[in-house]
């Protein structure tokens, strides 16, 4: 349905998009996920015709739309700060796209009214048609913006951080509601977000972007369970990034040695091991395998228990259940056995430059969870 091919865009000397290709199927809801400056908004604006690529092309239903202006593209845009027309009532805001049509294509007044009221009831705003945007809450405003975009029956709905300006509770509600609405209308949608939880929860497919490139495209499960790059690992979810040495098919993280069969041909190289906290198994000495680690700190966070351990000179974060915590009687200073159920290794060469920044992102995203 939408096909972006080898899109490049620079602003001055800053490469916002660097050879990005993306295919979006009819009826799909896709999330563009990435840190700020990753090019996700630029890509969205190019899809919507608000920005034009320096090279590459954008196809809509197979037809070249690269240079088609936003006006003729029939896309619905929803902005983070709603961009409602302040001097118009809710009704006039929603009706705007219909009223500006040429006389030939414009529906009659009665038809417009009917359509607007239908849309307003769909976004659960019946009865607010005559209010002004300033009299609405943030969540209501965003729903008006959505109804306004849907009024022109767009081929695609493009949403730029649609829930970014709302508080956590409303945001959660609204994104479930968006998902339901999408399932009902089957409209093709693309939304930009820097919130991984939002992307994983709402989207059919997630496009992870970093520094003007696509790092990975996949379903939320694929993205979370099989991150393709160190960046995706760090950007999605909490993860331990541990320096290691890779020698002849094995990875050594301090005293811990794990099999790394895909690197069998590597004689000796520096690498980094990525282990999710919930993939770390803890057991009493003598009861399981792995290496010894010392508990440094234990914090109980609702259903899960977060344990900070030191393994050699590394600090590792593990997550375990309340029950397991009770069995092990974890306390600072205690020696436990540590074994990663699952880990992934990357050689340091080639991506070192990209991680410094993503480390900060990691700190931010884990703070948000």
């Amino acid at each position: 349905m939408i096909d972006a091919r080898n899109v490049r865009k620079t602003f001055g000397s800053f490469a916002a998009l660097n050879d990005v290709s993306l295919n979006i199927a009819e009826g799909e809801l896709v999330a563009l996920l990435g840190p700020s400056g990753s090019g996700k908004t630029t890509l969205l604006r190019i899809l919507g015709g608000l920005e034009f690529p320096d090279s590459g092309s954008v196809l809509f239903d197979g037809g070249d739309a690269t240079l088609v202006s936003a006006r003729d593209r029939h896309v619905g845009f929803v902005f983070q700060h709603y961009a409602l027309f302040r001097h118009m009532t809710v009704f006039d805001n929603v009706a705007f796209g219909l009223k500006v049509r040429s006389r030939k294509e414009r529906p009659s007044k009665a038809e417009i009214a009917e359509r607007v009221h239908h849309l307003l009831s769909m976004v659960q705003l019946d009865g607010l048609a005559l209010r002004y945007p300033s009299q609405l809450s943030g969540g209501q405003r965003q729903r008006v913006a959505l109804a306004r975009a849907l009024a022109i029956q767009p081929r695609v709905l493009l949403l730029d951080e649609p829930f970014g300006a709302l508080d956590a509770q409303v945001r959660k509600e609204l994104r479930r509601w968006l998902r339901r609405l999408h399932d009902e209308l089957k409209i093709t949608g693309v939304f930009v977000t820097h919130d991984q939880e939002e992307a994983l929860e709402v989207a059919d497919r997630v496009v992870v972007m970093n520094q003007g490139r696509i790092e990975q495209i996949g379903t939320p499960t694929e993205i979370y369970d099989q991150p393709a790059t160190p960046f995706v690992y760090q950007f999605l979810g909490n993860v331990n990034a541990l320096p290691c040495r890779i020698r002849g098919g094995q990875a050594e993280i301090g005293p811990l040695v794990m099999p790394a069969p895909s690197y069998a041909g590597v004689a000796d190289a520096a690498g980094v091991a990525f282990v999710r906290p919930h993939d770390l198994l803890l057991s009493r000495p003598g009861e399981g395998g792995g290496s010894f680690a010392v508990v440094r700190h234990v914090s109980v966070l609702g259903a899960v228990v977060r344990v900070e351990l030191s393994l050699g000179e590394h600090i590792i974060e593990a997550e375990t259940s309340r029950q397991r915590h009770a069995e092990l009687e974890l306390a600072p200073g205690q020696r436990v056995l540590l074994w990663p159920r699952q880990a992934r290794f990357f050689l340091r060469d080639g991506w070192e430059g990209t991680t410094l920044e993503s480390r900060e992102e990691l700190a931010r995203t884990s703070a948000m969870l």
């Binding site: 593209r73 029939h74 961009a83 027309f85 302040r86 500006v100 049509r101 306004r148 022109i152």
Partner: protein, 276 residues
């Protein structure tokens, strides 16, 4: 009105008292003196002084010219402000500063300069003369001077509002299929309308009271190109204080009513927006 909630500056009583005292001292007392003076002359005498044919013609020119000039300034000022805000071009800062010159220039200097340019043998006047257009020493010249001095008022009131306009509004409108003219008429104009009205009112008031620059270019032919403020000065020079105050009172009342109407219009507009 009573004090509502707590405000930044404490003490509703003292602040209101100060405001009224200040306004009274600076604005109301001199104006009241004007009315007392006029009231002392008797109704018949007042009508004779304030509504003589020559005076009526002067009102027409003053109010008509000021209204026309303010209208021209609204259009031209919006355009100037738009260009200064939306485009980046070499010398933008320079042009931005030039806008304020009519504020700063002594009005007599402006009048002499305008006369020199628009006189039949002036830089611009010599090209208009063959076309049969006379600017200097005609009512048209009066309007030109009034446009000149009023421009900065419109530009400076509209400019900050244009600056704060979010481009996203226009982008949304485009994506919904609106054309340029529709966007201007339905999105931009309503947003800058209150500022335009304020600018209009300021430019109008300034043009109405303008004396220095207008009298040089007007030629001051009684009944044709003579403005009301000049008439007042003329009467004063003839020691006809009562006549001068009579004209002044009429101008004052008329401009007060006009400004009141403009303010009400603006209030009505911002109420309609549900005042954010």
């Amino acid at each position: 009105m009573t004090a509502t909630k707590s405000s930044v500056i404490p003490g509703f009583g003292p602040t209101l008292g100060y405001t009224l005292f200040y306004l009274g001292l600076i604005v109301l007392i001199p104006l009241a003196a004007l009315f007392f003076r006029a009231a002392g002359m008797g109704w018949e005498q007042f009508v004779q002084a304030a509504f003589a044919p020559r005076v009526l013609a002067a009102y027409r020119l003053s109010f008509g010219g000021a209204l026309l000039a303010a209208m021209i300034n609204v259009v031209a000022g919006l355009l100037v402000a738009w260009v200064l805000v939306r485009y980046d071009f070499p010398g933008r800062k320079f042009f931005d500063a030039i806008v304020d010159l009519p504020f700063a220039l002594p009005t007599a200097v402006a009048g002499i300069a305008l006369t020199a340019i628009y006189a039949p043998n002036g830089w611009v006047g010599q090209f208009l003369k063959p076309l049969g257009i006379k600017v200097a020493f005609t009512p048209l010249g009066v309007v030109v001077a009034m446009v000149f001095i009023g421009l900065p008022f419109v530009v400076r009131t509209v400019q900050p509002v244009l600056q704060d306009l979010e481009v996203e509004h226009e982008e949304v409108a485009v994506s919904l299929g609106a054309g340029r003219w529709q966007i201007f008429r339905m999105i931009i104009l309503p947003a800058v309308f209150p500022a335009l009205v304020t600018g209009f009112a300021l430019a109008f008031a300034r043009a109405l009271g303008e004396y220095g620059s207008v009298i040089f270019i007007a030629g001051n032919m009684p009944g044709v190109s003579e403005i009301a403020p000049l008439l007042i000065v003329t009467k004063l020079e003839q020691y006809d204080y009562a006549g001068a105050t009579a004209i002044a009172v009429v101008m004052l009342v008329a401009s007060f009513i006009l400004l009141l109407v403009i303010n009400t219009l603006q209030k009505w507009h911002s109420n309609r927006l549900g005042a954010v």
